[in-house]
Amino acid sequence: MALLEVENLKIYYFTGAGAVKAVDDISFSVDKDETLGLIGESGCGKTTAVFAIMRFAAPPGRIVGGKIIFEGRDILTMSEEEVRLLRGQGVAMVFQAAQNALNPVMTVGDQITEVINQHEKVTKEEAWERARKQLELVGIGGDRAKGYPHEFSGGMKQRVGIAIATACNPRLLILDEPVTGLDVIVQRQLLNLVNDLREKLRLPIILITHDLSVVAETCSKVAVMYAGKIVEQADAVSLYKNPAHPYSKLLIEAYPSIKGEKGKLISIPGAPPGLLNPPVGCYFWPRCPSAMDICQEAEPPVQTKDGRLVACHLYR
C-alpha cells in the first residue's frame, strides 16, 4: 500500500451560479521515495486538490466525495484534533509565494520554534537549537535565526518556508509552486536543495507547478491536470519522451528550451473551459487537434496504456 492514496476525490465550490467542479474525480498515489509532480495551467485545480490532503477546504469549497488514505487512514474522516497533529508532523506544506507567507513581525527562528512547540514538548533551548539546525539544513546559517523576513532575499525566504515545513520531520512534503517568481539562478539553487532534502531526509514530495522543466528536474512521476481532472499520469521520463494525451503533448511542445535545435514552438489555441458550464464530453476537445466526434459526446474513461494512465478516446 502506498504512503498516500487519493481515490476519486471531488471538491466542488458552491457558488450562487452553481457548483464549480474544481477537482472532479481524481485519483493518484505517492509512495515512499517518490516525487510526484502535479502540473497544469492556472485554475486547473491542482492547489485545491493538495489542500484537501491537509484537509483545508474553505467555504464555498467542499470535499464532496472520495478518500484520501494516508498511512492506511482516511484523512477525510479524522477528528479535528487528529488533523491538527497530522498537519506538520504527517503532511507538511510549503505554500505558494512562501516569500509572502512568512510573518513579517516575527523572527524566522520564532516562526520555526512555533511549529515545533505546537507538536512536541521540548524546552525553549532545544526548540531554538532545532530551529538553527533547520536553517542550516536549508543552507542558511543558524546564526540568521534572529533575523526578520525582510532581511532575507526571495530565495532565502522560500528556504525558510521549507525549514518551517520540515521542522517536525513530516512524512510527506507538499511544495506549491516553490520556484514561481524566483530568478533562474535562485530557482536552480532551490531545486538542488529540494533534491538534496529528498535524499537526505528520504522525504516523499508532491510538487505543484505549471513549469514543465521544474518537474523534469525533480520528479519521478508526473500527473497532468486539465480543468479539474487528471488527463495523464506516467513516470517522468516516458511522459516527456512520449506523451500520450494530446494536452500533455501540446504542453511539452509549447515549452521553449535553451538546449538543442531551436524547434518551432506552438501555442494551444483557446483557453481552458469555465468549470461552471464545462463542455459535454472531453473537456479538452474544443482545443484538441485530434478531436473526434465521440469526444464531444462522451467523457473519456481513464485507461491504462503502456504502464501509464491516460484519459483520452484515442486509446480505446
Binding site: 495551467e41 492556472s42 532575499s153 526571495g154 530565495g155 532565502m156 530568478d183 533562474v184 539562478i185 535562485v186 530557482q187 536552480r188 539553487q189 531545486l191 538542488n192 533534491n195 505549471h210 513549469d211 514543465l212 522543466s213 521544474v214 518537474v215 523534469a216 528536474e217 520528479c219 517522468a236 521520463v237 516527456y240 519522451k241 501540446l250 504542453l251 511539452i252 509549447a254 515549452y255 521553449p256 528550451s257 535553451i258 538546449k259 531551436k262 514552438l265 506552438i266 501555442s267 494551444i268 489555441p269 483557453a271
Partner: protein, 332 residues
C-alpha cells in the same frame, strides 16, 4: 543588425537617491548615496531589430526600458531615436514622439482599465494621439487592429470588459492598443511572464509578427533566456545595472564568455528529465542592496574565476568578435 539604427543609447545612467532621514541630511557629511539602477549602458537597436535584455530581478532591466521611453528621467547619458535626442525633448515634443515609442507592460491584469471595454481602451489610444477624424474612422481602425492581434471576430470582443478576458487575450489587447498607434519602437517588459505556458508562445508569435509585418523594432525585457532565444536577434545580459555581455542570440547561448552569462545559461532548466542538472558556476546571491560605488568588477564576489586583478578595476565592455562584446578581463 541592420545598418540603420533606430535607437542609440549612449552612456545611459539612471540613479535613484537613497532616502535618508531628516537629521542625517542636515548633519551627515557623507554625500548623498545612490542606487545605480542603470550604470553607464550603451547599445544600438537597428530598424526591425529585436534586442533581448536579460537579467535577474533588480538588475535594472526594467528601469532601463522605462528610461528609454522617459517614463523615468535619466541621470546622465543620451538616448537618440532616429537622430532625435530624446533626453532633451520638452514635454510636448516628447508626447508627440511617444506615439512612435511605446511600451507593453508585464501585468495584463493591472495595466488595462477595468471599467473600459476593449474597444474603448483602443479608442483612448487613438484619441490621445488624434489619429482619426470622426467615430467611423476610429471604429475602422479599432476593428482592424483587433483582427491584427488575433482577437477575432472583433465584434465578439468589442464590448467586453477586461475581466471577461483570459490572460492571453488581455495581453493581446495590451499589444493592440500600442499597435493601433503604429509605433516604430516597442519596449516589451516581461510581456509573457504572468501568462500560462500554453498561451505564451501565442504572444511571442504576435510580437514577432509586429516586426515581420510592420517593421517594428522591439526591446524584449525578460528574465527567461529560453523564450528570448525564440524571438531575439541579439541578447544583452545585465548585472547590477551594467551590460556584461551582448551578442547575437545563438552566439551568446553557444559560447557565453562572461562568467555570469555562463551561470545564467547553465541555470535555465531543461524540460527533459533525462538531462542531468549541472553544478552552477556561481557563488551566493545578488546583493540585496547594490553598492553605491564600484571600483571593482561588480560580479567578482560571486565569480569562480575572480582574482586580484578583478578587484582592482571595473572592466569595460569590449568587442571580442563582430557583434559580440563582453565586460570581463578574463574573457579573451
Amino acid at each position: 543588425m541592420k545598418d540603420q539604427a533606430i535607437l542609440k543609447v549612449e552612456n545611459l545612467k539612471t540613479y535613484f537617491p537613497v532616502r535618508r532621514n531628516f537629521v542625517k541630511t542636515i548633519f551627515s557629511r557623507k554625500k548623498r548615496e545612490y542606487v545605480r539602477a542603470v550604470d553607464d549602458v550603451s547599445f544600438n537597436v537597428g530598424e526591425g531589430d529585436i534586442l533581448g535584455i536579460v537579467g535577474e530581478s533588480g538588475c535594472g532591466k526594467s528601469t532601463m526600458g522605462r528610461t528609454i521611453l522617459r517614463l523615468v528621467e535619466p541621470t546622465a547619458g543620451k538616448i537618440y531615436y532616429e537622430d532625435i535626442d530624446v533626453t532633451s525633448l520638452k514635454r510636448r515634443a516628447m508626447r508627440r514622439l511617444r506615439r512612435k515609442m511605446q511600451m507593453i507592460f508585464q501585468d495584463p491584469h493591472g495595466s488595462l482599465n477595468p471599467r473600459r471595454t476593449v474597444a474603448d481602451i483602443l479608442r483612448q489610444s487613438v484619441r490621445i494621439h488624434r489619429l482619426a477624424d470622426g467615430k467611423a474612422e476610429e471604429d475602422a481602425m479599432i476593428k482592424n487592429t483587433l483582427e491584427e492581434v488575433g482577437l477575432k471576430p472583433p465584434e465578439e470582443f468589442w464590448d467586453r470588459y477586461p475581466v471577461l478576458l483570459s490572460g492571453g487575450q488581455r495581453q493581446r489587447v495590451g499589444v493592440g492598443r500600442i499597435l493601433i498607434l503604429q509605433p516604430k519602437l516597442v519596449v516589451a517588459d516581461e510581456p509573457i511572464s504572468m501568462l500560462d505556458v500554453s498561451v505564451r508562445m501565442g504572444i511571442i508569435e504576435l510580437l514577432a509578427q509586429l516586426r515581420e509585418k510592420f517593421g517594428i523594432s522591439l526591446i524584449y525585457i525578460t528574465h527567461d533566456l529560453a523564450t528570448a532565444r525564440y524571438i531575439c536577434d541579439r541578447i544583452a545580459i545585465m548585472y547590477l545595472g551594467k551590460i556584461v555581455e551582448i551578442a547575437p542570440t545563438e552566439d551568446l547561448l553557444k559560447t557565453p564568455l562572461h562568467p555570469y552569462a555562463q551561470a545564467l545559461i547553465a541555470a535555465v532548466p531543461v524540460p527533459d528529465p533525462r538531462v542531468e542538472m549541472k553544478e552552477l558556476p556561481i557563488i551566493g546571491y545578488v546583493p540585496l542592496i547594490p553598492s553605491d560605488v564600484y571600483t571593482s568588477c561588480r560580479f567578482y564576489p560571486r565569480c569562480p574565476y575572480a582574482d586580484k586583478e578583478c578587484r582592482e578595476q571595473d572592466p569595460p565592455l569590449i568587442e571580442v568578435s563582430p557583434g559580440h562584446s563582453v565586460a570581463c578581463i578574463k574573457a579573451k
